[in-house]
């Protein structure tokens, strides 16, 4: 396999965040290695074939490199997960309590109570798992970090989805007013941002889990 073909294969297999540095280093390494084999008398194509074969299968190299680089990324993801959970107080509490139009009903409808409690319960789970993953990320317990980060991400995603349902239901139960123009987009933007953070944290955790295989 030529160096260009090998690098293209490696690029496809590497996580996007790991590509820049790893590809540069591997390219220089393969060029050195091919130069060594050329100086030993091999033709260009044979030298490159030998260099790429000596380096190891691209998929395996990508898995291991991606997993190592994911550890650093997961530390960042854990911190962001904690911040994301803290930030989630806006769609869960600040927006409904302060921005939404006052509830027209004397007693809150049961479905809103259920949705709010479920959203808050998953938010609390997310907070616990995010803090745990941030603590595990300071240790060498990659599996524990990956699992707790995954659970934090999933809990935050569930809390986000339930919050969307909550906002949507609230919207249908209250008369349209000027506040809705601010509250609905704000709440949805918070939910979307938290969901995106959750998905990213989950993908980080998956790559990190690869390091323990």
């Amino acid at each position: 396999m030529t160096i260009d073909v090998y690098l293209a294969e490696l690029e496809r297999a590497l996580p996007r965040t790991a590509r820049l540095r790893a590809l540069r280093e591997v390219r220089e390494h393969l060029r050195d290695s091919a130069a060594h084999y050329r100086s030993a008398g091999l033709y260009e194509k044979e030298a490159e074939d030998r260099a790429t074969a000596e380096f190891g299968p691209a998929a395996e190299v990508a898995r291991r490199l991606g997993a190592e680089l994911a550890v650093g990324e997961t530390r960042l993801a854990s911190v962001l997960a904690v911040l994301g959970v803290a930030f989630f107080v806006f769609p869960l509490y600040v927006v409904p309590e302060n921005v939404l139009p006052p509830a027209p009903w004397p007693e809150q409808p049961w479905e809103l109570v259920v949705l709010q409690r479920v959203a808050i319960a998953f938010w609390v789970f997310a907070g616990g798992f995010a803090v745990a993953s941030a603590l595990f990320a300071c240790t060498r317990w990659a599996v524990a970090t990956a699992r707790s980060l995954s659970l934090a991400a999933l809990s935050l995603a569930v809390s986000s989805l339930v919050s969307v349902a909550l906002v949507a239901r609230w919207f249908t139960l209250t008369p349209v007013s000027a506040e809705w123009g601010i509250a609905a987009p704000l709440a949805l933007a918070c939910v979307v941002a938290c969901s995106a953070a959750a998905l990213w944290a989950r993908s980080s955790a998956r790559r990190l889990a690869g390091s323990s295989r």
Binding site: E25, E28, V61, E68, V71
Partner: protein
């Protein structure tokens, strides 16, 4: 020697080479092969995950440098890496001595 048997010792090998010189990845793989008279012929791609891990743990540091007209990521041992190498080395000597006593 198969890479499976070397697993777990790659960090010690890398730290040992870096004790003597700052080096980029290819030079490190080459030094390990040369110093072991070709016995430790690792798949060269295994060097980088180990280097990234050592760097994350603060045992080595790296930066881009121009070497022979090309930009390379050059690694060096940190103070913490020097201490860790001494500890690894002492463990290894104890292990080798005990193995020798039992097996030989």
């Amino acid at each position: 020697m198969t890479s499976d048997r070397l697993r777990g010792h790659v960090d010690l090998l890398l730290l040992s080479v870096l004790e003597d010189e700052q080096a980029h990845g290819y030079r490190l793989a080459e030094a390990i092969r040369t110093r072991s008279d070709g016995t430790f012929d690792l798949p060269e791609g295994t060097v980088y995950p180990s280097l990234y891990r050592l760097e994350r743990d603060g045992l080595v540091a790296s930066r881009w440098e121009r070497v022979d007209g090309r930009r390379r990521r050059v690694y060096r041992l940190t103070r913490r890496g020097t201490k860790e190498l001494a500890r690894h080395r002492a463990d290894w000597r104890d292990f080798a001595r005990a193995m020798e006593a039992v097996v030989a």
